[in-house]
Amino acid sequence: MDEPLIAIVGAGVMGTGISTLVVGNGLPVVLVDIEQGALDRATTAINLGLRHAQLTGARPPGTTPGTLRTTLQLSDIADAAVVIEAVTEAPDRKAEVLAAVSALVGPATPIISNTSGIPIDEMAAWVKDPGALIGTHFMNPAYLIPMVEVIRGPRTTDRTVQQVLSTLTRIGRRPVVVRDAPGFVTSRLLHPMINDAARIVGEGTATVEDVDTLMQGCLGHPTGPLRTADLIGIDNLVDALEELHARTGDERCRPSELLLEKVRRGELGRKSGRGFYRYYSEAQS
């Protein structure tokens, strides 16, 4: 096989989007989940995502997509050149999966944890070779957004950094490497801001639409913070805020009542068809 196999563990929103990005750039992917239903949904979403990437010119024209294999067997990642772990942002889940991944792959195979804020060095305790572990924070949808935050843990080796940067460049991303800290750069800035935006709506200062419109029109935000919340997934956002709050003590990171209420109602954003906004999607057909 000429092209390096990329293993992606976790077929949720991020694992699906990253799989779309990788196959869309011509590399083969093995996508693992513990649930067949998640893999089936991911396969549909990846095909839709490839079309979306083509529509918006986000995918190199004329590239034959790499092969996508889905599996319930984690052991199928053994031959991967790089593993990307993209399971739920819950430390227990990440610990279990990273330990299992690290027991299966070859020595020094880079293991990327895709996280919006869990410090890489906390996760390094769970793998055999902490030097091979590195973090990424892909934005959603990963196949449309050209930039990726890369987090180098204090023990991450130069070799791991170089291999991962070269893989990201190969799939058309522009990486920016930052040091390890809760929330790194983007989540540390964005998540409390979205949380405040929800508070502003909850307090009745302005409507959802007006908050987003002001952030777009006055401050140059591309979509507005509440549309961004819908894109992230409000449940994932709440998880990430709780992780940030636990590690920084910053009260701005304590999930606001409106976000918690949205999660209780199952209004999780784009993926559920409704969050702060309503969405027309294939899910409604």
């Binding site: 079309r51 529509l55 918006t56 949808p141 591309p222 784009r270």
Partner: protein
């Protein structure tokens, strides 16, 4: 090319009306039929795919290959023309 040239039974006005209503529902703004939805900020790259899915499901067409480009979705009129053209064609494969 307009839809009337390719399909006599195709009701362009009805399609334009239906697409306009969809965009209005989704964006809370009723667009002019010639308005560039992307240039005027009514649509973004995420909404673009919702437009594709909406047209495919509403009109039982498949937008694939070279048709899958933003220029076909810029205005209500261009979308209606695409639907007219695709409905006039025999069903093609749905590969990207």
């Amino acid at each position: 090319m307009t839809a009337e040239h390719t399909s006599a039974s195709f009701d362009t006005d009805a399609v334009i009306d239906r697409i306009t209503r969809f965009v209005a529902e989704q964006t809370s703004t009723t667009p002019d039929t010639d308005q560039d939805l992307f240039a005027t900020g009514l649509a973004n790259s995420m909404f673009a795919m919702q437009l594709v899915v909406f047209l495919e499901q509403t009109y039982a067409v498949t937008v694939a290959g070279p048709d899958l480009q933003l220029s076909n979705f810029r205005t209500v009129k261009s979308m209606a023309a695409l639907v007219g053209r695709l409905q006039a064609q025999p069903a093609a494969g749905s590969d990207v």
